[in-house]
Amino acid sequence: MKDYSGVWVYAEHDGNAISRSTLEIMGKGRELASRLGVELSVVLFGYGVSDLVETLIEYGADNVYVSDDERLKYYKTLNYAKLLTELIRRHRPEIVLFAASYKGRDLAPRVAASLRTGLTANCIDLDIGDFEDREKGERFEKILYQIVPAYGGNVVATIITPYHRPQIATVRPGNFQVPEKFPGKGKVFQINFGSEDWDDDVEVLEVERDEEDSKLEKARVIVGVGVGARGSEGVKILKRLAEALGGTLGATRPVVDAGLLPHECMIGETGKVVRPELYLACGISGAAHHMIGVRGAKVIIAINKDPKSPICEAADYIVIGDIFEVVPKLLEKLGKHGDAL
């Protein structure tokens, strides 16, 4: 196990830019690497992606393993998994991190199973620490703590992979801030692979893009819509509030389940993780399932008519009141200020 060293991040991109979730994970990866006293390496696969190497170095990559090949133009599970597994076998990193995106969650389990090692899904935090296995009398130093929300309510579990390497995890987008630029050593390694490695069981027929996706992740202000909004009338005034504050709408699960807002708006354990400057929770009771998605918000303000609802513990500021009275008043005043500008 001692001969495994280094923190790796698998880089995602859309062909033009490195994805935000990759940069977030690199920030955390950098931190883990320096606590372990090892290098941060990033793996970049694709076609016409050489320009993106620079971004990776700016954000802290000591090494970039890049494979820029026409055959990698489309993401194909088997080929990508084979290449990456091979690379991991050769270089033996101790930690490999993926975004818990659709792609990351497609690829990581393939790689982990091929290497017969563990994989922890949807981490909301990562840390380095020790572990003592009393049963077996083994001690582990500086292993990866993989922190995930656990089923059953207000709990998080720390998962470890003590006896296998590498330690692999997928990380929920939105949990870490995009770091300041902090250039790494920036050594670049070109990876080539032979045609015998190639698989053609999958053909990509079409790629559709609906760009809307990342509005919530980028928003500075999010107005959260809860069951208290009581249907489309409430959604309408909260939408006006979001617009007045230069923000966008998020929602709890029952609101999405009722079809009041699209699935992309859902925040929480099974929805998105966001970190706006302001989260304004309107008619939301504050279930841990939901609040775990807004932990990273700088300020949380709740408007709720029930002073005993759990959100009153989990907010920075609380307005006790009916959203159908408070929000129109707020809009009126924001409107006045707006006119004055």
Partner: protein, 271 residues
């Protein structure tokens, strides 16, 4: 080219606790599922429905497999009532606490024992584990192609054409069989069981296999055979400053709220 009518489809179903019920967490961090009511995981039901629709159109054979405690038999019984042909339960105390690698290893050994298949359909993710890992890990053990988070698919000769969810949009793929797909619950609306279906299912056998039956190595399953371990479980601290915004009426509260928004710097760009 193989006839679609000869196709063998395997559906993987997991019994999960009713999400509306309280689940106790054991000392070792695993869930105590004994006392809760078990349901078929949402998207596994959609996986069953997708397989049954193929069966109705082409007459293929559908087998459901589940790994779990003895009472997971209920889930398989329900699948039989929905209309599948065969049901297999892998139930072995030593498999308790298996992580996704250990689970997919066991399912792999069971599928090997079954022998032939053309298509494996899993749910995209389970509502209790929620990892979405078992499908792809199993596909890796079997060495077959996969497509995850599938929203729509059809069979065309030896291939399946499908539409899957992808970051920032969707993708359409053509996949050579044998293959494994994982489906989202949005893919269809699963049928409910009928009275005659339930009657039929009552008399159908469910194979119950142990680790020996499938030739699985004991040291690769269960808590001790799983690479990942639960080290600890803690309450999340979600508590914040909890400052009450005062005011005798709505007007005052809103004025105070605006002042705080300005102080916190979140309003500077708007007002």
């Amino acid at each position: 080219m193989k006839q679609v009518t000869e196709m063998n489809i395997i559906v993987l179903i997991k019994q999960v606790p009713d999400p509306r019920e309280y689940v106790r967490i054991r000392e070792d961090g695993t869930l105590d599922r004994e006392k809760t009511r078990g349901l078929i995981n949402d998207c596994d039901k959609s996986a069953l429905e997708a397989a049954l629709r193929l069966k109705e159109r082409y007459g293929c054979r559908v087998t459901a497999i589940s790994m779990g405690p003895p009472k997971a038999e209920d889930a398989l019984r329900e699948a039989l009532a929905m209309g599948i042909d065969d049901a297999v339960l892998i139930s072995d105390r030593r498999a308790r606490g298996s992580d996704t690698l250990a689970t997919s290893y066991v399912l792999y050994k069971a599928i090997e024992k079954l022998g032939k298949f053309d298509l494996i359909i899993c749910g995209a993710e389970s509502s209790d584990g929620g990892t979405a890992q078992v499908g792809p890990e199993l596909a890796e053990f079997l060495g077959i192609p996969q497509a995850t988070f599938v929203e729509d698919f059809e069979v065309e000769g030896n291939h399946i054409l499908l539409r899957r969810r992808m970051d920032g949009g969707h993708e359409k793929l053509r996949l050579a069989m044998p293959a494994l797909i994982t489906v989202l619950k949005e893919i269809n609306k699963p049928r409910t069981t009928t009275f005659s279906g339930i009657l039929r299912a009552m008399n159908m056998p469910i194979s119950i296999w142990s680790l020996e039956d499938i030739g699985a190595e004991v040291d690769k399953v269960g808590l001790s055979g799983s690479p990942t371990k639960i080290m600890k479980i803690e309450k999340v601290n979600l508590r914040r400053r909890k400052i009450l915004i005062e005011g005798d009426n709505v007007e005052e509260k809103v004025n105070n709220l605006l002042r705080i928004l300005r102080e916190e710097g979140v309003l500077s760009e708007v007002v």
